[in-house]
C-alpha cells in the first residue's frame, strides 16, 4: 500500500505542477468586481459565473471589493497573478475613472488583459410625460432660456452625468446638472417635478415609461437600439455622431498567456450564447455583445479619450 502510494507520488506532483493551457483551469476561478452586492455589476457577475463554471468544470466564485467607483477592485485585480484564475467584471465606469481621477493605482488600459465585453447598453433621455414633444423641443427650450432646464443625474462623475455634459457640449444648449445619490433618487426627483430631465439606463427609465409616467425623448446609442426600434437616437435628432453606450465586460491582469485568455474568452462567449445568460442580460436592458480582446481594448481607449475631453471642457473637478 505504502509502496503504491510512493510510486504514485511523482505522478501526483506532476499533475499538480503549473500549468499548461490544456490543464487550465485545475482549481476554482473568481470574478472580482468593485461594487456592492446586489448591484448591477454583482448581478451580471453571478449570471455569467454560473454558466462559466459549467463549461470550465471548476467553480467560479464572485467576490465584491467595493469602493471609490470600482477603482479599489481594479487596483486589486491589476496586481494579482496573471495566471487566468482572477477575472474582473468591469463596467463603463472603468473608462470614466481613467479620465476622472488624477492618480490611479493602476494603468487603465495597459494594466489589464481584456477578454470580452458581455453586454452593451444605451442611456435614455427621459422627461415627465407630455412636457416635451421631442428631443428637438427639449434642446430648443434649453437654448431659449439657458440654464433653466434641470437634468438630474446619478452622481458627479457617473457616466450618466458625463453623458448629460456631453449632450450640452454637442448641442450648445446649457443645462443645470443636479447630482443625486443613484439613479433611483434622480428618478424620484423627476417624478416629483424637482428636475425636468433624467438620463439613465433602461432599468430605471423603462418601467416608468411603460406606465405612462415618462416620455423617452431619445436614446444615446449611435444607432437605433434593436430592443426599442421606435426610439429616435440623439444622433439623428439633435447631435450628429453622438454615441454613448455603456458596457459590462471581463478583464484580467496584464500578461495572461494567450492560450489561457483564449480559453477564458471561449468560456465567456459560450456562456453568452446560452439563453439563461442572454435573456437575463437582456432583461437588464443590455444587448449581449461578445467581443475580441482587441475590440474591448479599443472601446475602452476610445471612451477614455471622449470622457477626458468632456471632463476638461465641462470643468468637472478631477479627484
Amino acid at each position: 500500500m505504502i509502496r503504491k502510494l510512493l510510486t504514485a507520488l511523482p505522478l501526483a506532483v506532476a499533475f499538480a505542477m503549473p500549468v499548461a493551457a490544456e490543464d487550465f483551469p485545475d482549481r476554482s476561478l473568481r470574478i472580482v468586481h468593485g461594487f456592492g452586492a446586489g448591484g448591477n455589476a454583482d448581478t451580471v457577475s453571478r449570471i455569467i459565473a454560473e454558466e462559466m463554471s459549467k463549461s470550465l468544470g471548476q467553480p467560479v466564485v464572485v467576490e465584491s471589493r467595493p469602493g471609490a467607483g470600482g477603482t479599489v477592485a481594479s487596483g486589486y485585480v491589476s496586481k494579482e497573478d496573471p495566471d487566468g484564475y482572477t477575472m474582473q467584471l468591469m463596467v463603463g465606469g472603468h473608462a470614466v475613472a481613467a479620465a476622472l481621477y488624477n492618480s490611479l493605482p493602476y494603468e487603465s488600459v495597459d494594466g489589464f488583459t481584456f477578454i470580452s465585453t458581455l453586454g452593451q447598453f444605451p442611456f435614455m433621455v427621459a422627461a415627465r410625460s407630455g412636457e416635451y414633444a421631442s428631443m428637438e423641443a427639449l434642446i430648443e427650450a434649453a437654448k431659449a432660456s439657458p440654464g433653466s432646464i434641470k437634468i438630474g443625474h446619478s452622481g458627479v462623475g457617473s457616466t450618466q452625468h458625463l453623458t448629460g455634459e456631453l449632450l450640452a457640449l454637442r448641442t450648445g444648449a446649457e443645462f443645470l446638472h443636479i447630482p443625486y445619490k443613484g439613479g433611483a433618487a434622480a428618478s424620484t426627483a423627476l417624478m416629483g417635478g424637482e428636475v425636468d430631465v433624467v438620463i439613465d439606463t433602461g432599468t430605471v427609465i423603462r418601467p416608468q415609461a411603460d406606465a405612462g409616467v415618462y416620455d423617452i425623448l431619445a436614446i444615446t446609442s449611435g444607432q437605433r437600439w434593436p430592443d426599442a426600434p421606435d426610439l429616435p437616437t440623439v444622433a439623428e435628432t439633435v447631435a450628429p455622431d453622438f454615441d454613448v453606450v455603456s458596457w459590462t465586460g471581463i478583464g484580467m491582469p496584464a500578461g495572461v498567456p494567450t492560450e489561457i485568455s483564449d480559453k477564458v474568452r471561449g468560456a465567456v462567449h459560450a456562456a453568452l450564447a446560452t439563453p439563461a445568460v442572454s435573456d437575463k442580460i437582456a432583461s437588464l436592458g443590455a444587448k449581449p455583445s461578445p467581443s475580441t480582446g482587441e475590440e474591448m481594448t479599443n472601446l475602452i481607449a476610445g471612451q477614455i479619450a471622449v470622457w477626458t475631453d468632456v471632463i476638461a471642457t465641462a470643468g468637472i473637478d478631477k479627484r
Binding site: 452586492a37 454583482d42 453571478r46 465584491s64 469602493g67 471609490a68 479599489v72 432583461s283 479627484r319
Partner: protein, 499 residues
C-alpha cells in the same frame, strides 16, 4: 382593498411560501442579533438562492430577513449595548440600562411587543394608504429634506441625558465624521487620509465601536469585572405589570405613527424615525428625568417606530419601483434577477406578487412575535455567560461582522479605534448617541441643502415659500422656543426654590 389583501393572504398561506416566510424572518432575527452583520450582508448572501425561487417567494424571503433583523437588532442592543442597525442605537439608551438592572427579560418583552404593534400599524398603512403616502413622499424635494433633517437634529440635541452643550458637541463631532469621503455635490475627496475612506467612514464600524467595543473596554477595566447578576427569568418578571402596560399605550401609538410617516420617505427611514420618536417621548414626558436609566416608554416608542418604518419603507419600492435605500435596492435586484423590473405598474401587472408580499409582512410579524416571546428566556441566559468568556467571543464577532460589510480591514481597525474613543468619551461624560445621529443626518442635510441652493439659484426663501418646508421650519422654531421657554421657567422655579 380588502379583497386584494385576501388574495395576498391566499398566496402567503400556501405551505411552501409560508415556510420561506418563516425561514426569512427567523434568519433575519438571528442575523440581527449578531453584532455588525446587518440585513444587507444577509440579503446579499442569500441573493443567489433567488435564482431557484420564483419572484414572489424570493421577495417574501428577502423582505422577511430585512424586517426580521429589525427585531433581532433590538436584542443585541438591550443585552449587550450592541446596536446592529442605526435605528437600534436608540434602543440601547433605555434597553441596556434595563438589562443591567436585571430587567433584561422585561425589556425584551416590551421591545418585541412594541415592534409587533409598530410593524402591524406599518402594514395597515401600507394596505390602506400606500398611494396617498406615495403622493406625499413625492412632494418632499430637497428643501423639505433639508428642513426635516434640521428638525431631526434639533430634536436629537434634546436626547442627551447630560448637558445640552455636551450633546450638541457630540452631534457636531458626528457631522464632522460624516464629512469624510467624496463630496456628493462636486465629487471632491474630503479628508480621505486612506484610500479605503473614499466612500466615507462605515456607519457599522462607528456604531459598533462607540457602543459595543467601548462598553467592553469599560467593563474589562473595572477592577472587579461586574459579573452577571443573579438572573431571575420566570415569566412573571418578563411580562409588564398592568400599570406599566398602561403607560406604554400612547408611546407605542405615537412611535408607530412617526415611524409609518418617516419610513415612507425614500432615503430617510427607520433611523430618523426612531430618533424622532425617542426625542418626542422624552420632550413631552411628565417625567423626563427617568430617561436614560431604563424607562420603558423610551424603549417602546422608538422600537415601534423603527418597525413601522421598516414596513412603510416598502411603499416607494412597491408603488413606484424606486428603491428607497440600499436594502430595498437589493430586494429590487432580486426581482430583476427573476425578470421582473418593478415600476408603477407592478400593482396592476403582478397583483399576486404585490399583495402577496404585503400579506407576508402581516403573517411575518405574527410569526416574529410568536418566536420572540419564548426565546426571551434563552436570550437572557446569554447574560449568565461569564464576561471573560463572552467578551472575546463578541469582539471576534464584531470584527467578522464589520469586515463582511465592505471586506475592508481598515473598517475593523477603525472600529477598535472608535471603541477607544467611545471609552474616553464615556469617562468624560460625553454620550455616543448624538454622534451617530450627526453622522447619519449631517451628510443628508448638506446634500439636500446644497442641492436646494443649486436648484433655486441660492435663494433661501424657498424654505418658507414651499408649504411643507414652511411647516417644518415652524416646527424647528417651535422646538427652539420650547427649549428656551422651559429652561427659563426651570431657572425661575429653581431660583424661587433657593430663595
Amino acid at each position: 382593498m380588502l379583497d386584494q389583501f385576501l388574495l395576498g393572504l391566499s398566496v402567503v398561506l400556501q405551505p411552501t411560501v409560508l415556510i420561506y416566510a418563516f425561514f426569512g424572518v427567523f434568519l433575519g432575527q438571528l442575523i440581527g442579533v449578531l453584532p455588525g452583520v446587518g440585513a444587507i450582508t444577509a440579503i446579499s448572501l442569500l441573493l443567489p438562492v433567488t435564482f431557484y425561487l420564483d419572484a414572489t417567494t424570493s421577495m417574501i424571503l428577502l423582505a422577511g430577513i430585512y424586517y426580521g433583523s429589525q427585531y433581532g437588532g433590538s436584542i443585541a442592543s438591550i443585552l449587550m449595548n450592541l446596536p446592529g442597525t442605526p435605528s437600534s442605537v436608540v434602543t440601547c439608551l433605555e434597553g441596556y440600562p434595563l438589562a443591567q438592572s436585571n430587567r433584561a427579560g422585561l425589556a425584551l418583552f416590551v421591545a418585541a411587543f412594541s415592534s409587533f404593534v409598530g410593524g402591524m400599524v406599518g402594514v395597515a398603512i401600507l394596505v390602506l394608504a400606500a398611494i396617498p403616502m406615495t403622493i406625499i413622499a413625492l412632494k418632499f424635494g430637497a428643501p423639505e429634506y433639508a428642513m426635516l433633517v434640521i428638525l431631526g437634529l434639533l430634536a436629537a440635541s434634546m436626547i442627551g441625558t447630560g448637558s445640552q452643550i455636551r450633546s450638541f458637541a457630540m452631534v457636531v463631532l458626528g457631522i464632522a465624521l460624516g464629512l469624510v469621503g467624496a463630496d456628493a455635490t462636486t465629487g471632491y475627496y474630503r479628508f480621505v487620509a486612506l484610500p479605503e475612506l473614499a466612500d466615507g467612514i462605515s456607519l457599522v464600524s462607528l456604531a459598533m465601536g462607540l457602543f459595543g467595543v467601548s462598553e467592553i473596554i469599560r467593563n474589562a477595566s473595572k477592577r472587579r469585572p461586574a459579573n452577571a447578576p443573579h438572573l431571575s427569568i420566570s415569566m412573571r418578571d418578563v411580562i409588564p405589570t398592568r400599570e406599566q402596560a398602561r403607560s406604554l399605550g400612547m408611546p407605542i401609538l405615537r412611535g408607530s405613527s412617526i415611524g409609518s410617516f418617516f419610513g415612507a420617505l425614500p432615503g430617510t427611514g427607520a433611523a430618523i424615525a426612531s430618533f424622532m420618536a425617542y426625542a418626542m417621548e422624552r420632550r413631552f414626558s411628565r417625567s423626563p428625568e427617568k430617561f436614560g436609566k431604563g424607562h420603558l416608554p423610551g424603549l417602546a416608542a422608538p422600537e415601534s417606530a423603527n418597525n413601522a418604518a421598516s414596513q412603510t419603507g416598502f411603499i416607494p419600492t412597491l408603488t413606484l419601483g424606486v428603491p428607497g435605500d440600499a436594502v430595498m435596492a437589493l430586494i429590487v435586484g432580486a426581482l430583476i434577477l427573476n425578470g421582473i423590473i418593478p415600476g408603477p405598474r407592478l400593482m396592476v401587472d403582478q397583483p399576486d406578487l404585490f399583495w402577496g408580499v404585503i400579506a407576508s409582512f402581516f403573517v411575518g410579524n405574527i410569526i416574529l412575535l410568536l418566536i420572540n416571546i419564548p426565546l426571551i428566556k434563552l436570550w437572557v441566559l446569554l447574560l449568565r455567560i461569564p464576561y471573560q468568556k463572552l467578551y472575546p467571543i463578541i469582539v471576534v464577532m464584531i470584527c467578522v461582522g464589520v469586515y463582511s460589510h465592505r471586506t475592508s480591514v481598515t473598517d475593523v481597525v477603525l472600529t477598535l479605534a472608535f471603541g477607544i474613543l467611545g471609552y474616553l468619551m464615556k469617562n468624560y461624560r460625553f454620550e455616543p448617541a448624538p454622534v451617530l445621529l450627526g453622522f447619519v443626518l449631517g451628510p443628508l442635510l448638506e446634500d439636500n441643502f446644497r442641492r436646494t441652493m443649486l436648484l433655486y439659484g441660492g435663494d433661501f426663501s424657498v424654505f418658507v415659500t414651499r408649504p411643507i418646508s414652511a411647516v417644518l421650519v415652524a416646527g424647528s422654531v417651535f422646538l427652539i422656543g420650547f427649549a428656551i421657554f422651559s429652561s427659563v421657567s426651570n431657572r425661575n422655579k429653581s431660583n424661587r426654590a433657593t430663595t
